[in-house]
Symmetry: C3
Subunit: 137 residues, 3 copies
């Protein structure tokens, strides 16, 4: 099996932020030279996510509001935060959104559906965090 | 790496519907001729899901009732629906259920546990939508 | 593509329990001899999970308390339990936590971020259940 590996680093301006990384992943696949196979994209941090959804600003707001309801504050609700941390909610939110995505590669490109876009989801941002891309073919 | 790709199309009768696709995926794996490897199965639409669970009618009802509670109406609650859409809840429900499944292939067959069945989960149905299958070995 | 397959069996002492399996997965990867590729790790039972998060006891308690809130009792709430079963909640909890994880292998090791640890998540324990590991390279 042929493989190609690359790492991207993100440092968001907000604590919770979604970044569309479809074009960047697409470039990595082109660079790999792999024409048919699969592409793993995963957050390397446990308070961040890689997921597939829609590039629509209203929906991004819906995701944020919904996650805030599913993982409510205050901070002191969470055992993890008693150890000096303040990001327990980020761990749980990323669990809902998922760690990784596996996208097929067909005819040299990401084989995505009409509205599928790949996002980096940050839930405890404002510091550099990495995403791993492994192209296999 | 050897690969084999196929697409299935589903057009459900109900807005929310779960279809057991294990047999169909199994046929695609046989057709691929791949005896050992992995099989990616993913929804190509962002209001649909591919997931693994149990073929038990009561449980399917539990999933539907539970998702309706985790992603409650009314429609106007969601920013996405202010743009003329009405399917924000379907985007969030599919996020809970997951976009994709990766199943091992061993000795020429899907290497599933005793109760593992593969489902297509539709949350905004009544129109044709596709599932991608990529067999790698 | 070269592959290597192994199965681990877990029989937890508690109904809900998280077991850190990073070291065991790492050993399987070493044994495979595969230096670059991917490693699929999935629960073979539909009331169990494989997921990546943090080795921090407070956070593990947070996950358990949070799942109990997202999937509340009593047992009779769930159709699945009317068929003589009592584990509907375990099916839903595992859906939140995920069935599987795909981890990259680079330079002969699991290519994990600084805090990424792999866990087996049991939601209906006290009996032997299996995890599948498929290393591909």
């Amino acid at each position: 099996m042929k493989t190609y590996t690359e790492y991207l680093t993100f440092s968001t301006k907000k604590k919770v932020e979604f970044i569309n990384i479809t074009e960047r992943i697409s470039s990595v696949v082109k660079k790999s030279g792999i024409k048919d196979g699969i592409c793993l994209i995963n957050a390397m941090h446990i308070t961040a996510s890689v997921f597939v959804n829609d590039e629509e600003p209203g929906l991004k707001n819906d995701f944020k509001a919904w996650l805030a309801k599913l993982v409510p504050g205050p901070l002191e609700t969470y055992h993890h935060n008693l150890s000096g941390e303040d990001n327990a909610q980020a761990h749980l939110m990323r669990t809902i959104m998922g760690r990784e995505v596996l996208v097929a590669i067909t005819a040299g490109s990401l084989d995505l559906g009409p509205w599928e876009q790949i996002f980096y989801g940050e839930f405890d941002g404002c510091r550099p965090k990495r995403v791993l891309i492994k192209v296999c073919g």
